[in-house]
């Protein structure tokens, strides 16, 4: 009986803290919305048109932040995976897997916006340059991470296996980058202006880029949070459904 009461107390307190967190999340959502609107204004109205590339260059303000967030996401997967393997608490798995899903979405967008930007500038959709190729390999690694979760025979197995891959994949990334970079040096096929990107930007462009980074990071934080709380709700639902089944069973036994 005593244990039942404690359970209820913890449940109410966690519900209370969750509703508090829920309102914090709404604030974050509003912030993300406001910043993204301002961001769109800056990108499409305020930032000057690039002299050589023209309007298409504006895609950079979306492309670059997404690439940065994709790497951030995979770093979070790495940290979450290590913590899960160490503590075996499902919240670390929720963090890692949510970040992996977002990372794959953002990497996909990087791989889509890149060619849209590249086609008018380079005249080709795709080039096997070091950064693009590494991004593609990265995308493949984390797609296989999501597949591994989907194909695991149970939830905790999926969490364990994907955590292992979350560590292995991340450690692999620098090695992939080195290999691809040298491989590119070996096969110079077409030369792209790979001078420092920031150097070629004027002050307004740089401001826009940094603002966009901030706005997308806020959006990312909200999405990550949202993803995690969805997973937590799923888990709650499962345990409620299970405890209902148990009470039904217990009643019959009595």
């Amino acid at each position: 009986m005593g244990s039942v009461q404690t359970d209820q107390v913890t449940m109410t307190s966690s519900t209370a803290s969750r509703s508090y967190l829920g309102s914090a999340k709404s604030v974050l959502l509003l912030a993300a919305g406001a910043f993204m609107l301002a961001n769109m204004y800056l990108i499409f109205m305020w930032a000057p048109t690039e002299a050589v590339m023209g309007h298409v260059q504006r895609i950079m303000y979306i492309h670059v932040p997404m690439a940065w967030l994709a790497f951030l996401a995979f770093f979070i997967v790495f940290v979450g995976s290590i913590m899960y393997l160490w503590k075996r608490e499902s919240r670390w798995d929720m963090l890692a897997s949510s970040a992996a899903e977002l990372g794959v979405v953002f990497t996909s967008l990087v791989l889509i916006t890149g060619p849209i930007w590249g086609k008018p500038i380079w005249g080709i959709w795709w080039t096997w340059d070091a950064r693009l190729t590494t991004t593609l390999v990265l995308w493949l690694i984390y797609v296989s991470y999501l597949m591994l979760r989907a194909y695991s025979s149970n939830r905790s197995q999926g969490a364990l296996y994907s955590a292992v891959l979350g560590v292995i994949g991340f450690v692999d990334v620098p090695i992939v980058y080195f290999a691809v970079n040298w491989w590119r040096t070996q096969h110079q096929r077409l030369v792209i202006g790979t001078g420092s990107l920031e150097g070629s930007l004027n002050a307004d462009m740089r401001t826009t880029l940094y603002f966009s980074l901030l706005a997308f990071t806020i959006l990312f934080s909200f999405l990550l949070w949202q993803k995690i709380s969805m997973k937590r709700t799923e888990e709650d639902l499962r345990s409620i459904r299970y405890s209902k089944e148990l009470t039904r069973g217990a009643r019959i036994e009595r």
Binding site: Y151, Q157, Y161, V164, L165, G169, D172, Q186
Partner: protein, 225 residues
């Protein structure tokens, strides 16, 4: 140390004995690799002018695909007969099981490659006996076996294991394949290697070293369930 190595060699010896009986891994991988070469020959229309550029790539695609075939068998054999549980119940560390399976896989893949290399050399007319080439084959195969043993043990426990293994394996192994192809191009063809064979070998060696530490650790976690 002896305590650690004894079960390693026992597991390897057991895998070799089973392979000698069933011949499931080596022969199948070999036949498969030859088929890959034949198909690539048609697909790329290899001529004496292009052979220097194309042969190393074909060689490594064949080795990598044959390797995946071999590594997929490594744990399917254990799983289908429930003997993996028997292994896990032995009073030895998970590390020694990992290294035992890895060593056996490495040997099988090396045997396959040792037979295929002269065949390739004849088909594509290059000299198979260069120390660089043999060195890179051994280093890269070690990398394949290191990562392959772990991923095979993971894939075998998932649904649709045949799909899972290559999907897991190929992205992670990319640096080794790139390095192996580049080094082999330097060894087989006349083309200048800008980066230098030594640095490519170093890169593969670093990969091997990193994953020789990571994979046994991960295997222990995976097998504890």
């Amino acid at each position: 140390m002896k305590e650690f190595l004894r079960p390693v060699f026992l597991v390897t010896w057991k895998d070799i004995l089973l392979e000698l009986r069933s011949r499931e891994v080596v022969i199948a991988s070999m036949v498969f690799a030859v088929m890959v070469v034949v198909i690539f020959n048609f697909a790329l229309n290899v001529t004496p002018e292009t052979v220097d550029i194309l042969a190393p790539g074909i060689l490594w695609v064949a080795f990598a695909f044959a390797g995946v075939l071999a590594m997929s068998r490594a744990f399917v054999i254990e799983k289908d007969q429930g003997s993996l549980e028997g292994l896990l119940l032995c009073p030895v560390s998970r590390d020694s099981l990992y290294f035992g399976k890895m060593l056996a896989l490495f040997l099988f893949m090396t045997v396959v490659e040792a037979v295929l290399l002269p065949i390739f050399a004849v088909l594509f007319d290059f000299s198979a006996f260069s120390f660089t080439l043999i060195g890179v084959i051994l280093l890269a195969t070690l990398g394949f076996a290191t990562v392959g043993t772990l991923f095979s043990s993971i894939a075998v426990n998932t649904r649709s294991r045949e799909i899972m293994l290559p999907v897991l394996f190929f992205p992670v192994i990319t640096p080794v394949i790139i390095g192996a192809v580049e080094t082999s191009t330097g060894a087989i063809g006349s083309s200048v290697n800008v980066i230098g064979v030594g640095r490519w070998l170093q890169l593969i060696a670093v990969f091997d070293a990193v994953f020789l530490v990571l994979c046994p650790w991960a295997f222990g976690l995976v097998m504890e369930e």
